[in-house]
Symmetry: C2
DNA sequence: TGCATCTAGTTCGATATCGCATTACTTAGT
DNA sequence: ACTAAGTAATGCGATATCGAACTAGATGCA
């Protein structure tokens, strides 16, 4: 691996550590024993719309179908989502957000406001948000090159 | 949450997605059923030196002691590390890398060379590595503010 | 020294993740 | 229409993660 290769490797290493540290911060504040993966799914449904199939969600999160089955089962048990039969494909289902699910998502967002504010205050505006465009580019590239 | 807060939140979201996508790419290539967490530990020991205590490693990775106990047990079973009693503290242990462990790490690194090269080629030098300094700064901040 | 307190690591039980195989349904080809 | 191949979801078993409780050894203080 050449010099630039080692830097790229280092980049993913930093990404992993930041993800771990940030995950620990947020996980500790999520309401009602909500797991990060559960929140991530709620967030996806709120931001990008519900009425998705389980397989589409598994693909979006790059997790096996079985993992998504499990996550959906947990959120359904908490009444945060509702699973309805797919109207035109008897094998499939459609995931709907419930009002309780939207509220749970709102509560989770609110619970993160404090640490987010502190991070913003400490690091200064822009330190973090200036990086978003490049990260989006990298994320989009990786997303479009999954079999890599 | 204000505008900058939402951007910071978005940043961590992008970090999480990139981590997930990159993790999937690397996990698929790790030799001998090696798990990402196992590789991460080997990488830490190779890069920053072995002869650490389990607790120090758990702290470095921000994982519970129990998780580290498990990870170390797996790597010890594979003879990638060796656990010796701590010379001055009877409660503790010292983790040593074995030759097999160093080789396993080398094999893992080699297995990632191809995707790393493709990513570098496709995105162009600097697209990724230019971000490292800022990410280091953010990582260091989060590392020093764990109880946040 | 003696004892209360603290600390490193493990055990145990619960949940999350994931690969493999199965079931139910759809689609394609004849 | 019938059958083969493909696809969506699930059941099951194995491993990873993690919190609570426990054990053994270290430390602080009278």
């Amino acid at each position: 691996m050449d010099e630039e290769g080692r830097r790229v490797f280092r980049f993913f290493n930093e990404i992993g550590i930041i993800n771990q540290l940030a995950g620990a911060i947020f996980a500790a504040r999520l309401p009602g024993g909500l797991h990060v993966s559960h929140f991530a799914l709620l967030n996806h449904l709120v931001r990008l719309g519900d009425e998705k199939t389980p397989l589409a969600l598994a693909s979006a999160f790059q997790v096996p179908k079985t993992t998504m089955t499990h996550t959906l089962a947990v959120l359904e048990k908490r009444a945060a989502i509702r699973l309805a039969p797919h109207p035109s494909d008897g094998r499939s289902k459609i995931v709907f957000l419930t009002d309780a699910g939207r509220k749970l998502h709102g509560d989770a967002i609110a619970s993160m406001a404090d640490p987010i504010r502190k991070i913003t205050d400490d690091l200064g505006d822009g330190t973090i948000s200036d990086l978003i465009p490049q990260l989006e580019k990298i994320r989009a590239y990786l997303d479009q090159n999954r079999g890599i």
